[in-house]
Amino acid sequence: MVLAVHLYRRIMRRGRVLGLLALSSVPGLVFWLAGFDAGEREMPELFTDIISSVGYTYAIAALILTVATLRDERDSGTLPYIYMRPIPRLNMAAQSIVAGVGATLVIGVGGWLVAVVASLAVGNGISLPMPSLALFAGAAVGYGAIFVPLGYLVPRSLLVGLGYIIVLETILANVVTGLAQFSVWRIALSIYAGLDDDFGTVASDTLGPVTAGVGGGVVKLAAVVVIGLGALTWALKKRDAL
């Protein structure tokens, strides 16, 4: 895992990490502010609603981190130092995705911890935010599997990724029912919904036609990972590395 560790360290620059931690902390901070005016019985629903809707800030943080995994190497001209090594391309693709997912997980856990602190601050226990860790983790895996290959393959990957999150996930998937099944956020949300009995109205609306459930969500995420891994392996083998 030498390559994964190297790529992880490369993308986790201090300035970038602090900025993205702030971005992924937005749902927790919003819950903190909203929680002061909410009654005790409203809290669980309020929490899931805020995490599921405002949580898109985490999706953007995940995008910024994961597209940079190989794009940083390519843009700075250092890709030959890792590409010209006796590492099978499937292995290289897997390590790259692991690095991207790992970095996103760290940011996600940071955002989740802010949600935990917010929950404690407004008088709830740790049990309220606990299931949402699955949302952050699931989203990290799904976005990593999509955006690491995107960053390698597409020159304007950040723009394309933003298009995916904003246009497909937040707009089109609400209008065209079938597209919701292709939303990583909704897949991760379905795992969260499977773990949390107090899933709110807004959260359920966001989920749309995607069925809540841990098993189904994990299988879908696994499929996303397989597709991402396959795409990146193909790109590393067949496309120019510079």
């Binding site: 030498v2 001209g77 010209m84 090594r85 006796p86 590492i87 120019d240």
Partner: protein
């Protein structure tokens, strides 16, 4: 001796721009200079040979293997890229150790230390690469390439930014590697560098091979270009008069005590000059062929395209 790198009918184009066109060539162990002006296609050729870019047409075999098909070949080949880019935050030692670990070298720390010593970077190894001078970065890149003890070393403008002492050290290192049986390919647009690093030259112009061989052979093969020779003589006018009547001599010009001769047959001139000098009692103090240098040869090649 068999070719370690075999390039067959290789072309690489980017959209409508043809960077390398129908190149067929083999490289053997030893140092070869890859010469060409900026934009000649040297970097693209090296990148395709290194497997970083796929050929649009043709194929590359390094030690019998297509580098884009078998990543294990990267245990045996290394590239020093032209870009100055390095990992700015890593120290020199961390950079080399990373290269060693990625190359799956046993005892990466020891190996890194050895190559740092080889390129003379031991004292600076603890400093961040971002603070390195251009020349030091070049040496760090060479060290990273040497860490796997490759059989084939592709060096793209490796002397860029190096000061004269560093250049001399790097050139000596490349020659040493070539003498040790490694295939070392050094690209440069600086003629003097190529001349110092290797006798064998591959010249590229406009993406095509312009010439291959040692400098004298390439020059000798250019029969359409008259050879110029400067001769210092005690009686230049008399010498000029005797030469102009000789077949093969295309022109003579007198400049002080020197006769500038243009000939289509240098061999005949070399044989004839002593006889003319004796016959006319002319003293010859210096005979200098002025277009035998790589610079002249290369100028002809570029002008001839």
């Amino acid at each position: 001796m068999t070719d370690t790198i075999v390039v067959t009918d290789l072309s690489k184009w980017f959209g409508l721009k043809v960077a390398v066109s129908e190149v067929t060539i083999g490289f053997r162990p030893g140092v070869t200079g890859l010469l060409g002006p900026n934009g000649a296609g040297k970097t693209t050729l090296l990148r395709v040979m290194a497997g970083l870019q796929r050929p649009s047409q043709g194929e590359v075999r390094i030690l019998g293997v297509d580098p884009r098909q078998d990543t294990e070949i990267y245990r045996k080949i290394s590239l020093v890229p032209e870009d100055e880019s390095v990992y700015e935050r890593l120290t020199g030692r961390q950079f080399i150790e990373l290269a060693a670990r990625l190359a799956k070298i046993d005892h990466p720390v020891d190996r890194a230390q050895r190559v740092l010593e080889t390129v003379g970077l031991t004292d600076a190894a603890g400093r961040a690469l971002g603070g390195f001078s251009k020349g030091m970065r070049q040496r760090a890149k060479v060290a990273a390439a040497l860490v796997s003890d490759p059989e084939v070393l592709l060096l793209d403008e490796p002397l860029n930014g190096a000061d004269p002492v560093q250049r001399a050290q790097l050139i000596a290192l490349f020659k040493e590697l070539g003498n040790a049986g490694k295939t070392v390919l050094v690209s440069s647009h600086v003629l003097a560098e190529v001349e110092r690093v290797s006798d064998r030259v591959v010249a590229m112009v406009d993406g095509r091979l312009a010439a291959v061989g040692d400098i004298a052979t390439i020059r000798a093969a250019m029969t359409d270009k008259p050879r110029r020779v400067y001769v210092d003589a005690t009686d230049p006018r008399r010498l000029a008069a005797a030469l102009i009547a000789r077949s093969g001599v295309l022109g003579v010009q007198i400049d002080g005590g020197t006769v500038h001769i243009e000939t289509s047959d240098a061999g005949d001139l070399a044989r004839g000059l002593p006889a003319i000098a004796v016959e006319h009692s002319i003293g010859l103090s210096k005979i200098e062929p002025v277009d035998e240098s790589l610079e002249s040869v290369f100028r002809y090649l570029v002008e001839g395209r």
